[in-house]
């Protein structure tokens, strides 16, 4: 099952660089770079539309002019460090914490000022929030009551949901008698019991231990596909977001930094924050010179397209898995000037690949980190203390604005 999901969903954890074939690299997309609030790429009707949302807590602005469109059946992840406003945005969509300004349209209806009970959503919290004194059955049935359903109808629906989340015979137990992962599945069953149009997940996996988390994230993902319910999940775990989302909304300091599919976010980050927050990224201080090339010391590199002008101070960035290893004394072709001699300072065996720390006086004090496949290391006979040549492929070497110091 775990394998299946890897195959069907393009996003991959940062560390499994071997599994990203080079042909998957995306072509540059200027639109993404200039307009972080991108229109949805998934097919389907527009379901949720957030326009110019602001939220102030006292003097603090938690959300600044957020606009976002979500299509029907999409799985959206809000991803960002703690305090970035992702949970605030989710709670605004639910009506639990009303936004200060801005509108939210759900299914063609303006829900901006409606209380939660008059909106259409199911929600799952990190704490599960299962009612401790009610059995699992009664927990799931809680939202089904008072809606004209007969007792037997409710019982049938509850059993259906228990089957759906894979806990068919746990109905008579109390929440405290289940494991964390089981409890979260019950919370999910309770949230979807009434067939809401929108499913909101507030860090649903954060309270679980690592193995359960991976397992359950796959199940939630599959369930979402099966039900086709539009889903918004808040998470601070990039791996989770990459594995589950159709589109990821990367947030920081109350603004959206980038919206895009997991591959877009990973391969084509629009700025250094996104690049650094998702996956790992080597950062080298450099300057733009004529022809858009980047200079690091006296050495110049060709790089991915960018919009900087000559003399701009930038950060050159490349992911560890994008560094290509060559043997010592390797002579690149005349066109390829992106090769550089380095000292292989340290090697760390991480199971499926080697993490290598590379030194060159042009990088200053910092070391360049590169992940080399076991094959490559064996083929080139690499070892700590060796000299070698590495290539920073032009289409993987990106230039970003330098962050303001302080």
């Amino acid at each position: 099952m775990l394998l299946a999901i890897r195959m069907t969903s393009p996003p991959l954890p940062a560390k499994s660089f071997r599994q990203i074939p080079e042909h998957l690299a995306c072509a540059p997309n200027d639109k993404v770079r200039t307009n972080p609030v991108m229109q949805p790429t998934a097919s389907g009707e527009l379901y949720l539309s957030i326009e110019n949302l602001w939220k102030a807590f006292g003097d603090f602005l938690a959300l600044k002019d957020i606009s976002l469109d979500i299509k029907e059946s999409e799985f959206i992840c809000f991803l960002g460090p703690s305090g970035c406003g992702k949970t605030t945005l989710l709670r605004a969509i639910a009506g639990l914490d009303l936004q200060t300004k801005g509108t939210i349209m759900q299914d063609g209806k303006d829900v901006s000022s409606l209380p939660p009970s008059e909106r259409d959503f199911g929600i799952v919290f990190q704490s599960y929030a299962l009612f401790p004194n009610l059995t699992i059955e009664k927990n799931i049935a809680f939202g089904l009551e008072n809606a004209g359903r007969s007792k037997s109808e409710i019982a049938v629906r509850v059993q259906e949901l228990l089957d759906l989340v894979g806990l068919p015979d746990q109905g008579k137990k109390y929440p405290a008698q289940l494991s964390g992962g089981q409890q979260q599945r019950i919370a999910l069953a309770r949230a979807i019991a009434t067939n809401p149009g929108l499913l909101l997940l507030d860090e649903p996996l954060s309270a679980l231990d690592a193995k359960v988390r991976v397992h359950l994230r796959h199940e939630i993902h599959e369930l979402q596909r099966k039900l086709g319910v539009t889903t918004v999940m808040v998470t601070h775990d990039q791996e989770e977001a990459l594995a589950m989302a159709d589109r990821i909304v990367v947030m920081n300091h109350g603004v959206i930094e980038q919206v895009g599919s997991p591959t877009e976010i990973y391969r084509e980050p629009v700025n250094l924050f996104v690049a650094d927050f998702i996956g790992e990224m080597n950062q080298i201080q450099s300057t733009v010179i004529e022809g858009g090339r980047l200079s690091v010391g006296e050495k110049t590199f060709a790089c991915h397209d960018h919009t900087f002008t000559d003399g701009d101070l930038v950060v050159a960035a490349i992911r560890p898995e994008d560094v290509i290893p060559h043997e010592d004394g390797y002579q690149p072709s005349a066109q390829n000037q992106n090769c550089i001699d380095v000292l292989l300072h340290e090697m760390e065996f991480l199971g499926s690949f080697w993490r290598c720390r590379l030194q060159n006086e042009r990088f200053g004090q910092s070391e360049l980190i590169a992940d080399f496949s076991i094959n490559a290391v064996r083929r080139l006979g690499l070892g700590a203390g060796n000299n070698m040549v590495i290539e920073l492929p032009a289409d993987r070497l990106m230039a970003f604005e330098r962050p303001e110091v302080g």
């Binding site: 300004k101 929030a129 008072n146 019991a193 009434t194």
Partner: protein, 673 residues
């Protein structure tokens, strides 16, 4: 701040989004408004009325009256005297005569030295200002027309005072040594009792938490017993022990138990459980790792005690001190029984109101009594809010190690305290069963024939049970629901903060003060609720309000442990919040709900101070009967009734325990894994 204000300036212009209130929001705010209104009507308004009463003075305004006198033929020479002129010439009334109470009356015939009621001289008088008042016989005249009366009628003319605002009452109070000496008395009695109780309770709690002596459970039980009796019961026991015909009178070497000695001993008795509970909690949560560190650093036990134990328990000690101080200074029953000629503030209120019918002065003493009580309360709250953070999740509970020497020392100490507590109760029980102390020591149940005594008889006992049950049911419902609304509703921050403040207020208000405030507020004929005066309803309301704060805090603590998101989940499932409340919140919080009800029941059974002004012959209470029978000299029946309260409360506690266990088994099955 400058940074954040520029942040806010980024907000686009235009109105903010205003949320529509759901039906649940409206229900919850409505409910909160109702309970807030309850607290305003039963607490804030009566207190305000009392405060204004303490500043209302009654002055006879002599300048507002004019008089004319005829000769013996009934002919007036046209001379008009004002009351002031007449008083200046004759000097019959001085300042204190003129500033009088609401019922003050001033005869005017004394202004005329030649007055004789048989004379044929005629008199005319009038008010010069609107609102002036004088009586002829019992007829009130407030017009400015001249009124002619003959001499015989004139002797029945009395001037009535006019209501005014001022600090005269306070000036009066502080110029009467008999009154303001009580402040000093109250303060030092409370301080002394506090020091004694806290020291005794500390070592008792220390023994129970930090030693391996035997019978800890029994000692804990005994220590809590005084909570079950009215504070005047130890007074009665002391009378039997050290009174004029006391069993152990010689031990006092001629000193009298009636006075400060009796009050302090009795206060130590009835405040002991409160201090013990607080200090015991503080000692129980201390971190065992600190002691391990101290041992590994080779610190002496003495040094460890002062550097680890005392600092760890300091908040508990301070808190206990203020609670005890507050209990003693506001207590009325004990000094009433054993205080003798030694005046304290709480008894002064009673004496002024019941004895002298001087309500204004009662209000003044009340205002003065509130000040130290308020102060103690405020500091206690401050200290308790600090204590919360002292324990971390990684703390390790302290495990005492057996030490035969100190263990037996502590055992002896605890036995002495335990004997003191049981002894006091036993003396009362013994006294209740003796025919006529000290002359006829044969056993009898005569003292239980309450119907033959002053104080309301068995009826008052059953009234007390009724009051206890009603207070428990009504109070628990109001308090828990109110706490839920304020804890779990959305938005409306100002309203919720105001509600919290209102809920904390009763703790700072002494019972006597609350009772007196109720008289002023509810006994006013122009108050539409004056109908409840003298009924069971006002006693229930008064008790619920009096004991509101502790109940509220218990409920809030329980509710805070509930997941914050239950309400969100329920709303997302389109279920009414009240369904969540009844299906989940109440069952989960059932242990706390039961704790609140037993707390209210026990306190309603034992309270004297708040209800002493409010009971009527039909609604006399057991605790009041104890007071009244003691007052009437029926001390043995008073002891008997006091012990009835004890047994009832003990039984209630046992029922509470059984009910909790049974209920827990049913509703808290989920707690078991």
């Amino acid at each position: 701040m400058s940074v954040s204000s520029t942040e806010l300036s980024q907000l686009p212009a235009g109105p903010n989004v205003k949320g529509k209130l759901s039906r649940d929001d409206l229900v919850m705010r409505g409910g909160m408004a109702v309970i807030a209104l309850y607290l305003i009507v039963t607490l804030a308004l009566p207190l305000y009325t009392m405060l204004s009463k303490s500043f209302s003075t009654y002055q006879v305004q002599l300048s507002q009256y004019e008089f004319q006198v005829s000769d013996e033929d009934g002919i007036y020479d046209g001379t008009i005297f004002t009351g002031t002129e007449l008083n200046n010439t004759t000097g019959v009334y001085d300042h204190t005569d003129l500033s009088t109470g609401a019922d003050g009356r001033l005869p005017v015939s004394k202004f005329f030295p030649d007055f004789s009621f048989r004379s044929s001289v005629m008199y005319q008088l009038r008010n010069t200002a609107e609102g002036g008042r004088f009586l002829v016989g019992s007829t009130l005249h407030d017009s400015t027309e001249w009124l002619e009366v003959d001499s015989n009628t004139f002797r029945r003319v009395q001037l009535r005072p006019v209501k005014a605002r001022g600090i005269d009452n306070f000036v009066n109070y502080f110029s009467t040594p008999a009154l303001f000496n009580s402040i000093k008395n109250s303060l030092w009695i409370s301080l002394l009792s506090t020091v004694v109780t806290v020291s005794l309770a500390f070592w008792f709690a220390y023994a129970l938490n930090r030693s391996c002596m035997r019978f800890k459970g029994l000692f804990r039980l005994v220590a809590m017993a005084p909570i079950l009796v009215p504070s005047l019961l130890p007074g009665i026991a002391l009378v039997y022990l050290f009174g004029n015909q006391g069993m152990l009178k010689e031990l006092l070497f001629g000193a009298s138990i009636y006075g400060p000695i009796g009050i302090v001993i009795g206060s130590v008795f009835f405040t002991f459980p409160h201090a013990f509970l607080i200090i015991s909690t503080a000692l129980a949560i201390s971190d065992g790792r600190l002691y391990e560190a101290a041992t590994s650093l080779r610190a002496s036990p003495w040094r460890t005690f002062w550097t680890v134990t005392i600092p760890g328990a300091r908040y508990g000690l301070i808190s206990a001190a203020f609670v005890v101080f507050n209990l003693v200074i506001t207590d009325f029953g004990l000094p009433k029984v054993i205080g003798g000629q030694f005046n304290v503030l709480a008894v002064d209120i009673y004496k002024q109101v019941i004895g002298q019918q001087n309500f204004e002065m009662g209000a003044v003493v009340s205002v003065i009594l509130i000040i130290p009580a308020f102060f103690a309360f405020g500091i206690d709250r401050m200290v308790q809010s600090k204590q919360v953070s002292s324990l971390t999740a990684r703390s390790v509970p302290f495990e005492p190690k057996p030490n035969s020497k100190t263990d037996s020392l502590f055992f002896v100490y605890c036995s002495i305290i335990g004997l003191f507590i049981i002894g006091m109760l036993a003396v009362c029980q013994f006294a209740a069963l003796i025919k006529f102390w000290p002359y006829d020591l044969s056993l009898s149940l005569n003292n239980y024939q309450f119907d033959k005594m002053d104080g309301g008889g068995w009826g008052s006992y059953f009234n007390s049970i009724k009051l206890g049950l009603l207070t428990a049911v009504v109070g628990t419902s109001i308090v828990f629901f109110g706490a839920y609304l304020v804890e779990k509703s959305n938005g409306f921050l100002v309203g919720r903060a105001a509600f919290q403040m209102l809920a904390m207020l009763p703790m700072a208000i002494p019972g006597m003060v609350l009772g007196l405030a109720y008289i002023f507020f509810f006994n006013n004929p122009s108050n539409p609720m004056s109908g409840i005066y003298g009924t069971m309803a006002i006693l229930v309301i008064c008790s619920v309000t009096h004991f509101y704060t502790v109940s509220h805090l218990t409920a809030v603590t329980a509710l805070k442990q509930m997941d914050r998101e239950f309400e969100s989940v329920s709303a997302s499932l389109k279920q009414p919040t009240m369904k969540l409340f009844s299906r989940v919140t109440v069952p989960v919080c059932m242990p706390s709900v039961l704790d609140i009800s037993i707390y209210l029941f026990v306190n309603a059974m034992t309270t004297v101070s708040a209800v002493v002004f409010l009971y009527s012959p039909k609604t006399s209470l057991a605790s009041i009967a104890v007071l009244n029978m003691d007052d009437a000299g029926d001390i043995a029946p008073a002891a008997a009734m006091g012990m009835m309260i004890f047994y009832t409360n003990a039984a209630a506690r046992i029922i509470h325990l059984i009910a909790s266990k049974g209920l827990l088994a049913k509703t808290q099955a989920w707690r078991k894994r």
